[in-house]
């Protein structure tokens, strides 16, 4: 029974428009089906010999087989509630491939047959359509992307056992899941800490962004051709850590608008006094420096919530998110609170260049206690960022712009340089008022940047 409307749960076959044994073509109307909303005609999505399973007037749930279209499938009568009869093995085999699969028809050909659907029943399914598989077989199937409904069980009572899944995973021509299947044995619980340790190294390989060639695995789906791209190790790390952050960190965001007039003035002064080849600090460098100062005064912003404890760090190491080809890398300015603005500016240039040419080393990516992410150069005015765990917060910096600002109590409006920043915080370690004070300190430093020379 195809899903012909979003709210539809069952449908009634009003009339078959073709007869038993008819040769139907793809796209040919085969049935009138009454749904909760309307009566609709339903077209064949395969060509072949038509055999109705449900009778006219039968009401069936979505996903139940209403008919088969195949080469020479014998008919099964419609008086069994639409379920294929046990004594029609050939029909079952045929249904494997060709059943009028409601889900697939309704949502596009990319839907995998689901275990619950009667048409994907195998020897391992019981009468309720549940696939009988051992716990380890289920776990392996999930890890290796094997569809249990398509596996035949060789265990007692037809249970799918580990060996069946391994055989399916190695023998199946299923490119979409090949990367998964290639993975070594199941990751064991105790391997996780080691994996964590390996992260800096993994992040380092970010610098060589080798994205594998897309492989086209399916064509002509309702979404067109499907290309599957394997992730680089860095992309895997990014995916996992970002998901970990969103899944585990109770975060909140504070937004502030910062008056950048003095910063603009300072930068033009610095430009004047700088020599020919000298690096002039950017506004982002000022942000990094302001954060470093503020972090020194707010130890919990420079800490981590870890296993029910706060870890507070003596060094202030500010990471600066740098977009590299196909990857996201965060080189770290170590001891940023003790470095001058010029020193920070030179470090950031050097590290960004190393990220881009792929020579950045693991130590240069490790040990960050806070992160600054700036999308201002893309014209983004404000945004939120995902915390880089286990850090306590991340500062998302928008573009500096001239905005109309009311400058006196008579409502006079002038153009002023303003910049939005968002501080995303882990509420387990950094609470609202503390975070507000921390962000206030950053703002105060940027609004009076000379204070950073003290």
């Amino acid at each position: 029974m195809p899903r012909l409307s979003d709210s539809m749960e069952e449908g009634t076959i009003l009339k078959w428009l073709v007869s038993e044994g008819d040769e139907v073509k793809k796209g040919q109307e085969i049935a009138e089906i009454e749904t909760d909303k309307a009566t609709m005609t339903y077209e064949a999505d395969e060509e072949g010999v038509f055999h109705p399973v449900a009778g006219e007037g039968d009401t069936l749930s979505i996903g139940e087989v209403i008919a088969t279209i195949g080469e020479d499938a014998p008919a099964t009568s419609g008086d069994n509630g639409g379920k294929p009869k046990e004594d029609a093995p050939e029909a079952e085999a045929d249904e494997e491939d060709r059943a009028v699969d409601a889900e697939a028809a309704g949502e596009g050909g990319d839907a995998q047959p689901k275990a619950e659907q009667p048409e994907s029943k195998t020897a391992s399914g019981d009468e309720n359509g549940r696939v009988k598989a051992s716990p380890v077989a289920r776990r392996l199937a999930k890890e290796q992307g094997v569809d249990l409904a398509s596996v035949e069980g060789t265990g007692p009572g037809g249970r799918i056992v580990k060996a069946d899944v391994e055989k399916a995973a190695s023998g199946e021509a299923k490119p979409a899941t090949k990367a998964e299947a290639k993975k070594d044995d199941a990751p064991k619980r105790e391997e996780r800490p080691a994996e964590r340790e390996a992260e800096p190294a993994a992040a380092a390989s970010a610098s060589s962004p080798g994205t594998s060639d897309p492989k086209v695995t399916e064509t002509g789906t309702t979404k067109g051709d499907v290309s599957v791209v394997d992730l680089t190790r860095t992309q895997q790390v990014v995916a996992r850590r970002m998901a970990e952050a969103k899944a585990t960190i109770p975060e909140f965001t504070l937004v502030a608008e910062i008056d950048m007039e003095n910063a603009v003035a300072l930068r033009s002064k610095l430009k004047e006094v700088a020599g020919e080849d000298a690096v002039v600090p950017s506004f982002n460098d000022m942000v990094v420096k302001a954060c470093a100062f503020a972090l020194r005064d707010h130890p919990r912003a420079n800490g981590s919530y870890k296993d029910g404890k706060f870890e507070l760090y003596s060094r202030v190491n500010v990471g600066v998110a740098v977009a590299a080809q196909n990857a996201l890398v965060v080189p770290v300015i170590h001891d940023a609170d003790q470095k001058s603005l010029g020193h920070i500016a030179r470090d950031v240039r050097k590290l960004a260049a190393r990220v881009r040419d792929g020579t950045v080393s693991p130590p240069e990516l490790a040990g960050g206690t806070f992160t600054v992410s700036n999308l201002g150069m893309f014209g983004i005015t404000s945004f939120t960022a995902v915390i880089n765990p286990p850090q306590a917060a991340i500062l998302a910096v928008g573009a500096m712009q001239q905005r109309p600002v009311i400058v006196d109590d008579r409502g006079k409006v002038e153009a002023r340089h303003r910049m939005n920043v968002s501080l995303v915080c882990d509420h387990r370690i950094l609470y609202g008022a503390d975070a507000a004070e921390f962000l206030g300190r950053i703002r105060a430093l940027l609004e009076e940047p000379l204070a950073m020379a003290l």
Partner: protein, 328 residues
């Protein structure tokens, strides 16, 4: 290493510990003049005298009660009960006193008592002499439970039991008394409680054999390898409390199948307990339900043919293992 019988290994353990520590003494029915119903205490009366090798009347509750008192006042008594069936007469002293006193008195008093007794069927001694009840004692917190299956473990674990400050239920097996094996002569050789032995390595299935059934499991494993190409890993827990669950879980994670073989009854048995622990800790590694091969759910028959089919032998173990792989 010299080869000894299980009963000789036990005798050596008692002798060595009595020589090492004069607080160690033994009590029981017929252990002195008669040299023990199963000859485990052979020669000890002659060597150590009546003060340390005491023949007692037939009164299990009193013997164990004297042992509890002696242990509380600083001695290290080893009490022999003639069979595990008779230990029920001493259940009050074992469960209400020996196991409990250290807790009741806030740790001020210890009960370093060993209660030794054989269990097991096969000698046509009927239902009042032939049961296997490690599960009864495993049930009781405060008691350590040892079930040695080899002469080496008989010696090593008995020495460890005597040196332990907790009350230990030391369960021997009538069939095993005559079995031979290598036993270290070293007087300092002591086995560890809570350390399972892997008797045979294999990748396909984990068989956990309790007491004598560790031996049956090994024989079944050889048959499985020769006739069915199934390589079984055989684990002998050696002590049930403390239990080396880590070794068992690690093995099951490798083999994905577990079978527990015990001579005792199925309901509330050691296997029932282990099956629960395995499914709790290794559920996602199981490829088949945890299986059990146990003694029959009835009082032990006297008739020889009936007795023989009332406790597990290799064919039942082989069949149970194969049933986890396919319909049999």
């Amino acid at each position: 290493m010299p080869v000894m019988r299980y009963r000789e290994a036990l005798n050596a353990a008692l002798r060595e510990e009595m020589q090492r520590d004069e607080d160690v003494f033994i009590m029981g029915e017929d252990i002195g003049v008669f040299n023990g119903a199963f000859k485990v205490t052979n020669g000890l009366l002659k060597e150590f005298g009546e003060k340390r090798v005491r023949d007692t009347p037939i009164s299990e509750n009193t013997i164990v009660g004297m042992g509890v008192g002696a242990a509380m006042t600083g001695l290290r008594p080893v009490v022999e009960l003639m069979t595990i069936n008779f230990s029920l007469l001493a259940m009050d002293q074992i469960v209400n006193h020996a196991a409990t006193i250290h807790y009741m008195f806030g740790g001020q008093v210890r009960v370093p008592l060993v209660v030794r007794m054989p269990q097991g069927a096969g000698h046509q001694l009927g239902p009042t002499h032939s049961h296997s009840w490690e599960a009864l004692y495993l049930h009781v917190p405060g008691l350590l439970v040892a079930v040695p299956s080899t002469p080496e473990d008989a010696k090593g674990l008995l020495k460890a039991a005597i040196r332990d400050d907790n009350p230990v239920i030391f369960i021997e097996h009538e069939y095993l008394y005559g079995q031979r094996g290598d036993v270290p002569e070293d007087e300092d050789f002591v086995a560890d409680f809570g350390q399972a032995a892997i008797r045979r390595e294999g990748d396909d299935v984990t068989i956990i054999g309790i007491s004598r059934m560790a031996v049956t499991a090994q024989k079944a494993a050889e048959q499985l390898a020769q006739e069915h190409e199934v390589e079984a890993e055989v684990i002998d827990p050696r002590t049930l409390r403390p239990l080396d669950l880590d070794t068992i879980v690690k093995s099951v994670e490798k083999t994905n199948r577990a079978i527990i073989v015990e001579e005792g009854w199925p309901h509330g048995g050691v296997g029932a307990n282990l099956a629960a622990l395995i499914q709790e800790q290794a559920f996602d590694y199981l490829d088949a339900p945890v299986a059990r091969v146990t003694g029959a759910d009835l009082p032990m028959p006297y008739s020889k043919p009936l007795e023989q089919i009332a406790f597990p032998h290799e064919p039942q173990v082989v069949e149970a293992v194969l049933a986890t792989f396919r319909d049999v």
